[in-house]
Each structure stands twice: as C-alpha cells, then as structure tokens.
C-alpha cells in the first residue's frame, strides 16, 4: 500500500505494537538543554535509573545563556544554577555537552544539523517544541515534555499515539525578497494556530523543493505554530549535499548506502494524506504579524485588521484583545508601525543564510536613529562562519550589536529582553504576550524584513529602501 513519508519513518521505528496500546517508538537522537531537563535527570536519580543510550544523546546550553561577556559568571543566580545543574547532570550520566564558550555551543536546533547528527528517516526528540526544525531533513522530529525527556533518557523509546498526515503543497516560485519565513507565516495565517493539531505536516511542491536546507528548516521550525508537532520535507539532492562531509555524516560506502535508503523515504505515488492545503508561492509577499499569536498575520502591504471583520466570535475577541495589547489601531498600514528593537536570530532564522540575507540588505546602510538591532547567531559555528565572510563587521558598521550564540530575545530568559511597551520586529517564532519581555510587543518577520526595518525604523521590505 502506498504510504506517506511520515508513515514510513514511523513504521521503521516501532519497537513494540500491541492492540489497544500506543506504539512504542525507538528514538534515534535525543537533544537536551538546560531548561526542560533538570527534573528529568532528578527523576532518574530518584528511581536509581541510568541513561540507556548516552551515545544517542547530546546536550547544549542555549535558553538561559547571556550573549555577551561569556567569560563572566552568569549574573542571574537562578539561570546560573540551571546551567550548572545541566553540567553536573551531563557529567554524572555521561552525556556529551557543548557548554558556553565551546565552538559547537548554540541553539540546540542549529547545533544538531550543523554537526550532521540530523539525518533523513531518523526519529529526533527534544524537550522543546521547535524540534520540528529537524523535519527539514525528512526526519520525524517533535517536541516533548519533561516526563517524556525522562522516559527517553531511561528507555530510548516513547509510547506514541499515531498522527494524522497533512500535505502542505506550495506551488510556483517565490518572488525576489520573499522568503521561507513568509511561506510559513502565510501557512499559519491560512490554517490557524490550531489547524495542524494532531497532524504531521509534509511540505511539498515546487517552491519547497527549490528551498535551501536552511530555508527548509525555517519552514519546518514553525510547524508547531500551526499546531502540528512535526513538519517534514522529503530528502533530495539538496539534503544529501548538505549532510555530506559533516562531522557525524556517514562516510564512504556507508554514505552511499544511507542515500539509497533516504531516497526510499519519499511519500509514495498515490499515498493518501488525511488533509491537504495548497498555496501559490507566486502570490506570496513579505508577511508580518499584527497580533499576539503567529496566526494573526497579514502581508506587509496590508493594514491592521478591524476586529469586527472576523465572523467567528472567538477570533473577534482574540483580535480585540491582541490589538489592545499591541497598542495598534484597525486600518493602520503595517508599514507605518514604528519599532524600537530589531532581533535577528533564533532557531527559526539564526543560521548562516539568514545572516547573509540580512547583511546583504544592511551592508553600507545604518540602523535608524533610536532603533536597537541585536544580531544573535544560532551557534558559535555560525558566528565563526559569519565572521569569516565579513558579516559580523557589516552588522557592526551598520550600528547593530553582534552577539554570541543563544536563544536570546526569542524568549527573553537571559538579559536580552524588551522593556514594557517596547516594540520589536523579530525573526523569531512567537509573538505571544510578554514572550520577549514583560509588556513587550512583537512583530514576527523574515530576516530581509528585519534588516530593512532596522534601516527605516518602521516595518519595511528591502524594496522600500533608497538606493545605496
């Protein structure tokens, strides 16, 4: 019977199947960070259990870490304790850790792929909802809670109820200045923040196939913002080329055998998805959010919507509440919205290609008066690469702050936060109330829009900039 890619990967990982019980799935890679793991390790200790496969586990410090003055101790004692706890846990249980200051430290979802640990057909989990990022390689990757982190540490498996499948087909070709971020923001606006609940999304179609690996990761990363735990893209030559030669990629004959297998993972001709949505890439333009959930977005050419235009009473109430929080008036053109801060980074848009795209726009220009721009690379390797290409200097010469790697202002667990009432254009993934700092207001944008916005001080696309 014809099967989807998600079904194939699932079937390959069933350890045990019994009537009336969830399938027990094997987990190929477990990524660990400091925030969602301490209670899991403590649970192991209390039960006298060990980590079954430390060799399939890797940890890094990302959520809490400061992005400047790395040599100084972490100022916040509670953050410091959490990071120290991770170090002790990794040492006690034999787990490989990339701590602050290490060249392979960074946001966990940037680190896995760059090490070549993320490969097609794998099952990958992490106590972080943006684990969906790794689906860009054709892996089945999803976020889990701390109880499940403990379960995977102890057994390298998870009992899982089956998913449904949804095809997200993006036909056509993206126009210049339109990016992967705009695709996914448009998908979320179309199906809603709950539209993907219970589904694994498979992004397909011409526009998806033509994306680079970095761009595919941006798309899969925000699957969770559409309610889906996982999003996948079929592995192809772009995928194989990206993996080849990375530290943990298979080598020689193993690589060829792996590629043969990876090619077999594609969704079969005639396989049936439980649902399908279709978008036309040619119709997409830079997308920005106006509200307090990622589904509340419009094209940058549009205006702040009028809540009374929503037929569904709960959507109307949500829009009213969001506009009050965001301090926006219906009908205001999005281009007139002024920002205080621009954040470029995160597991959504903190990879080298994102930095290149933004640097290309900002090169030879200045960050607008009164605007603070924070550029936070997704990992120290990304920082190293960016410096080698001269991008760090481009950002600094434009007046932006060029920081060290971490989650940073995406969620403001470290000192990088918005102040109450401040407004940001952010390449991260969530515009929730208070997400980037108490009382902060967030507009989600692509790296290109972030860079143009930094220059003009109002939400802008590169096309709005004067010639250099």
């Amino acid at each position: 019977m014809a099967r989807t890619m998600a079904e194939k990967v699932w079937e390959e990982h069933v350890v045990r199947r019994a009537e009336g019980e969830p399938d027990l799935l094997y987990i190929d890679l477990h990524l660990v960070h400091e925030v969602t793991s301490p209670q899991a390790f403590e649970g192991l200790r209390l039960a006298g259990r060990s980590v079954r496969r430390p060799d399939l586990t890797i940890a890094t410090e990302d959520h809490n870490v400061p992005t400047q003055n790395l040599l100084a101790p972490i100022a916040d004692p509670v953050s410091r304790k959490q990071v120290e706890t991770l170090r002790k846990n990794c040492s006690d249980f034999g787990v490989r850790l990339h701590p602050m200051g290490d060249i392979d430290q960074g946001v966990v979802h940037v680190v896995g792929p760059q090490l070549g640990l993320t490969q097609p057909g794998m099952t990958i989990v992490c106590g972080d909802s943006h684990t969906s990022t790794h689906g860009a390689f054709g892996a089945l990757a999803f976020g889990i809670g701390t109880s499940q982190v403990e379960h995977v540490l102890a057994t390298q498996t998870l009992p899982m109820a089956p998913f449904k499948t949804m095809a997200v087909t993006v036909n056509g070709t993206l126009r210049p200045g339109v990016s992967a971020k705009d695709i996914i923001l448009a998908v979320i606006a179309k199906i809603g923040t709950g539209g993907g609940q219970g589904y694994v999304l498979e992004y397909r179609g011409e526009a998806i196939e033509s994306l680079s690996m970095e761009a595919r990761m941006t798309v899969c990363n925000m699957s969770i913002e559409a309610g889906a735990r996982a999003g996948m893209i079929a592995p192809d030559q772009t995928t194989f080329d990206y993996i080849k030669g990375r530290p943990h990629a298979p080598r020689g004959a193993d690589f060829d055998a792996a590629v043969e297998h990876w090619k077999s993972l594609r969704t079969d001709e005639g396989a049936v998805f439980d649902a399908e949505v279709v978008l036309d890439a040619d119709e997409l333009s830079p997308f920005v959010t106006w509200g307090t959930n990622p589904g509340q977005g419009v094209p940058l050419d549009g205006s702040v919507p009028d809540p009374s235009s929503f037929e569904d009473p709960s959507a109307r109430a949500a829009a009213e509440k969001a506009l009050a929080y965001m301090d926006l008036k219906p009908g205001t053109p999005m281009r007139e919205v002024r920002v205080d801060t621009v954040f470029l980074g995160s597991c959504t848009n903190g990879r080298i290609e994102d930095l290149r795209a933004a640097a290309e726009i900002i090169r030879g220009r200045r960050v607008a008066e009164g605007v603070r721009m924070l550029v936070v690379p997704g990992s120290m390797r990304v920082k190293e690469q960016a410096n080698a290409e001269g991008l760090g200097r481009v950002f600094e010469e434009a007046g932006a702050e060029w920081r060290e790697a971490g989650c940073s202002m995406c969620l403001g667990m470290n000192p990088d936060q918005l102040k109450p009432g401040e407004r940001s254009a952010s390449t991260s993934n969530r515009n929730f109330e208070g997400r980037q700092g108490r009382g902060g207001r967030t507009h989600l944008v692509s790296p290109q829009v972030a860079a143009a916005t930094a220059v003009r001080g109002t939400l802008s696309s590169p096309a709005d900039l004067d010639a250099r």
Partner: protein
C-alpha cells in the same frame, strides 16, 4: 503519579482562546531545577497586571476545574505549564481544543484534560459566572462530565489505555521497562551508519 477517578470541584471560567504556555507560565518562572513550587508562575502576568483576572476574584478561590477557551496550551512544550496548574490546585481542564504537546504532557502527569464541544463549554461558563458555587464533576470511570447546575451531562472521549493509566496512576517508564528485551532486539537491528554522539 496520583490516581484519578472521579473529581468534583468548583470551576473557573477562562474566556480566552489560544492561551499559550507562555501565558500559563512565563519563561522567567522556568529556571527552577525542582519539580514543585510552580504555582506562583501560573498566569503570572495576568494575575499581576489585571485585578479583575478570574484567578484574582475571591469567588473563584479554591476552584479546581479550569474551563478554558479553544486551543488551550499552544506554543512551548514546557511541562512546567502542567506543573503550575497542578501546584495551584487544578485537577482538570475542560476545553473544546487542546494543543497536542500540552495535552500529552497533562495526561502523562495526571492533570485530566477533557475535550468537550464548545456549546457545552459555553453552558458551563454561563452557569459558573451566574453562580460561582456551581460544581463540576469530571468522572473518568464513566468518561462523563456532569454539572447539574449548568444542565450538563456530557460524555467525553479518552482512549482506553490512557484512561487505564490514569485510573491506576501508573508511571510510563515502569511500563516501558517491562519491554527492555524488545528494545534490545530493535537496537541490534538498527542501521550501522546511524550517527552516535560519543
């Protein structure tokens, strides 16, 4: 894990959709390394900034059933959201739609999340707002929610396996460890080129 069979308590009407886990517990409250004491983080921002927020109202003190709008628990996978609700005293959450990860976390930890049609949620909201003493019973044995004051007697769906685990208060890890042999057999047949971290 504490067993769950039948719970009766007063309810809190939370008339908001898309309540994400950053609202349930903001990130600054996630820095603890202990498993308890997260009640101070529950809806911290709304409790601090809005005196009229439902949890600040005296008539809802001591309630143990949260009745929420659709798409409750979206966003971050933080299980702290479940712990904060439990530490505050909630035993069950009723909604017409839950985010997947939050739902999974809640049922692992013994916080019963119950899916009910929105019109039923609307009726419970109205009854609880008219009379905050209205009691709601969440009966896992019969898989039914009853709120006589709201004229509600509504069955809900939950798979047999999860129901059994909650009724018995069983820990998933202990259940899985009974299949260690099967895990070992699976591992022996894994593809040799799959990556290792050590």
């Amino acid at each position: 894990m504490e067993k769950f069979d039948v719970h009766t308590g007063r309810a809190v009407p939370l008339r908001a959709s898309n309540v994400d886990t950053d609202q349930i517990i903001p990130a600054v409250y996630l820095k603890r390394v202990s498993r308890t004491g997260f009640e101070d983080g529950l809806f911290a921002e709304w409790r601090q900034s809005d005196p009229d927020f439902v949890l600040n109202r005296p008539e809802y003190q001591g309630a143990s059933v949260l009745v929420a709008g659709p798409d409750f628990g979206t966003g971050s996978s933080r299980e702290h959201a479940v712990w904060a609700l439990q530490d505050y005293g909630f035993k069950a959450v009723l909604s017409s739609r839950f985010a997947d990860i939050f739902r999974g976390n809640s049922l692992k930890g013994g916080l019963l999340t119950v899916l009910l049609p929105q019109p039923v949620i609307d009726r419970i909201w109205a009854a609880v707002e008219a009379d905050p003493a209205t009691e709601v019973t969440v009966d896992l044995v019969e898989r039914e929610v009853r709120a006589p004051g709201a004229g509600v007697q509504e069955p809900f769906e939950l798979d047999d396996y999860t129901r059994w685990r909650l009724l018995e208060g069983l820990d998933d890890i202990a259940l899985t460890l009974r299949h260690t042999d099967a895990i070992g057999e699976f591992e022996a047949a894994r593809k040799p080129w799959l990556p290792v971290t050590l």
